[in-house]
């Protein structure tokens, strides 16, 4: 007869190196925190004073506005470019390819300055019938392309070139059999893309797309070259006046950290949404885990008390 082990006590496996690693990291974190808190040169008082100042908040809103507008426009344009690139038409393919090639091979800084100085190259911009004198609309380039327009143009076109590749990669990662099955069922082409392919492509697109958007949040700081008063330009103006360089850079940094953190939470939940069906069972969210932890421990405590 086999031995009955049910009365034996289970001893968990030991992981000594895990403990060593944890200790080393904990020490490092402690050291950094200590220096941040105790070194008076960080001037935390100044940081606190400027963190919610009206001018800083205005700059922050401009940063958010730029990110949102050029992020959304960039991804919409990128989606169209990706579809063009995957289409059967050689013309659409080469237009899309050339677009990505140009905008990925020129520095964003140069593009931005070029847009802002477009008035130097073309004095007027007009909309009409080519090769005739018919004009529906005509304007001085410099009035049309403000700092804001130049910033949005530069960021959007640049973003579109990168997101086109990300979206194309996502679409290519979906099994060809999916399209075939959908076509065999008589599902129309547009519906095949939006209902069958895109939701599956999203799993490959999202991590890189959020990388891009987070990059864009900080990338907007490049528009300081246009003297556009977003977050980074605003703190520069302030520290040039007050000479409190480091605390003010810290103010900007902390805000970027806040935005990135919020975006990361969004990312977690959106990715989770699109992993439906891709993993056998969805893991619990941190909130659900916490709730479960407290629920089980509350039960344990009650039991302990009632004994």
């Amino acid at each position: 007869m086999a031995t009955d082990y049910s009365s034996y006590r289970v001893v968990a496996a030991k992981h000594p190196w895990r403990w060593v690693g944890t200790a080393v990291v904990a020490l490092g974190v402690l050291a950094v925190a200590w220096s941040l808190a105790t070194n008076p040169r960080w001037e935390w008082g100044v940081v606190a004073q400027w963190f919610t100042a009206q001018s800083v908040i205005n700059g922050l809103l401009e940063t958010l506005k730029l990110t949102a507008i050029s992020g959304i426009l960039g991804f919409v344009l990128g989606f169209i470019l990706a579809l063009m690139r995957l289409s059967a038409s050689p013309l659409l393919v080469s237009v899309s390819w050339t677009f990505s090639w140009i905008f990925r091979s020129t520095p964003l800084l140069v593009q931005m300055l070029l847009w802002y100085n477009l008035g130097y190259l073309y004095e007027k911009i007009s909309l009409g019938i080519p090769f005739t004198d018919v004009r529906f609309f005509e304007m001085q380039t410099t009035t049309l392309i403000s700092q804001f327009a130049a910033a949005v143009l530069g960021l959007t076109l640049n973003q579109a070139a990168y997101s086109a590749e990300i979206i194309r990669g996502g679409i290519l990662s979906v099994d060809q059999g999916q399209l075939e099955a959908a076509a065999a069922l008589g599902i129309p082409a547009w519906r095949r893309s939006t209902r069958i392919v895109l939701p599956q492509a999203m799993r490959a697109i999202l991590p890189t797309a959020f990388n891009e958007i987070i990059g864009l949040v900080k990338g907007t700081s490049i528009v300081y070259v246009l003297a556009y008063s977003e977050l980074f330009y605003t703190v520069q103006v302030i520290y040039n006046r007050t000479q409190q360089v480091l605390p003010l850079l810290l103010v900007a940094t902390l805000w970027y950290v806040v935005i990135t953190s919020v975006l990361s939470v969004f990312q977690y939940y959106i990715e989770r949404h699109y992993s439906k069906g891709a993993v056998r069972n969805l893991p619990l969210t941190p909130l659900q885990k916490a709730r479960k932890f407290f629920a089980t421990h509350a039960v344990a405590n009650n039991r302990a008390r009632s004994l």
Binding site: Q178, A181, A183, L185, G186, P188, I196, Q200, G277
Partner: protein, 266 residues
């Protein structure tokens, strides 16, 4: 053997179909007729063009010569006087709703539940109401024995269950004919029968079935016609008895002597 006599729709006529990929001719003038409600089984060695033939039937693959018709209506073309006009995408999609297809590796949509997989096409391809599609979807899942798994995603189902959902999905469009491309060859042996049983049921229901399979026992059981394909041609066709017990062509004989040996004892 089946109730072919009572079925009135689903006459499939394949006439001298040719298809090449580049320089290699994969189908070299294939002809095959399946009566309404009939069950045709296609067998043959790997690479002989069985899958390609099935894919031409619902126009996933364009033919280079010959033609295919269902109930007298050409697949993929329209007769206009003396000319054949190629149908537009929209009309081809409409034709495909009359021809269901079940794939070797299921090709279920992994991000949709079993019921959503079944109810998607009737709504977007046939314009039925969501409510109706859902109700009918549940009926069909019940028919393949999976009513209680309606809310499960494909990855939460076994291979056999996935293939049964795929069959329900093809049935949801109420097709005249159903094409099966090796429906059990991606399955573990113990799961094969649950899928074959569902197909046996269908064979009795009066839907025309064209099945590519390596399950010879099943083929013998369910087929009205067995066609043996080799190198892009139908070498021999006839009743199961004829083909399995008394093949005429040497190529058929040598194929069966290889595949039937240990597994198939009469």
């Amino acid at each position: 053997m089946t109730t072919a006599a009572t079925a009135t729709r689903g006459l499939v006529e394949i006439t001298k179909v040719r298809k090449s990929f580049g320089a290699t001719e994969v189908l070299k003038g294939v002809s095959l007729t399946v009566e309404p409600g009939g069950v045709a089984v296609i067998v043959g060695p790997s690479g002989s063009g069985k899958s390609t033939l099935l894919r031409t039937i619902n126009h996933l693959e364009k033919v280079d010569g010959g033609f295919i018709s269902i109930d007298g209506k050409l697949v993929g073309y329209e007769v206009r006087g003396e000319r054949l006009l190629e149908l537009r995408e929209k009309e081809i999609l409409k034709q495909r709703t009359e021809i269901g297809m079940v794939f070797q590796n299921f090709n279920l949509f992994p991000h949709l539940t079993a019921l959503e997989n079944v109810a998607e096409a009737p709504v977007v391809a046939q314009g039925r109401s969501k409510e109706e599609a859902r109700r009918r979807g549940l009926e069909l899942l019940d028919r393949v024995g999976l009513k209680d798994r309606a809310g499960a995603y494909p990855r939460q189902l076994s291979g056999g269950q996935q293939q049964r959902v795929a069959i329900a999905r093809a049935l949801a469009l109420d097709p005249k004919t159903l094409l099966f491309d090796e429906p059990t060859s991606a399955l573990d042996p113990e799961l094969v029968n649950e899928v074959l049983d569902v197909i046996r049921e269908l064979a009795k229901s009066g839907t025309t079935l064209i099945i590519v399979t390596h399950e010879m026992g099943f083929a013998r059981d369910v087929a009205d016609t067995v066609a043996f394909m080799d190198e892009g041609q139908i070498v021999e066709q006839g009743s199961p008895e004829q083909i399995f017990t008394n093949p005429q062509e040497p190529r058929t004989r040598s194929f069966f002597s290889k595949v039937l040996e240990p597994a198939f004892n009469i």
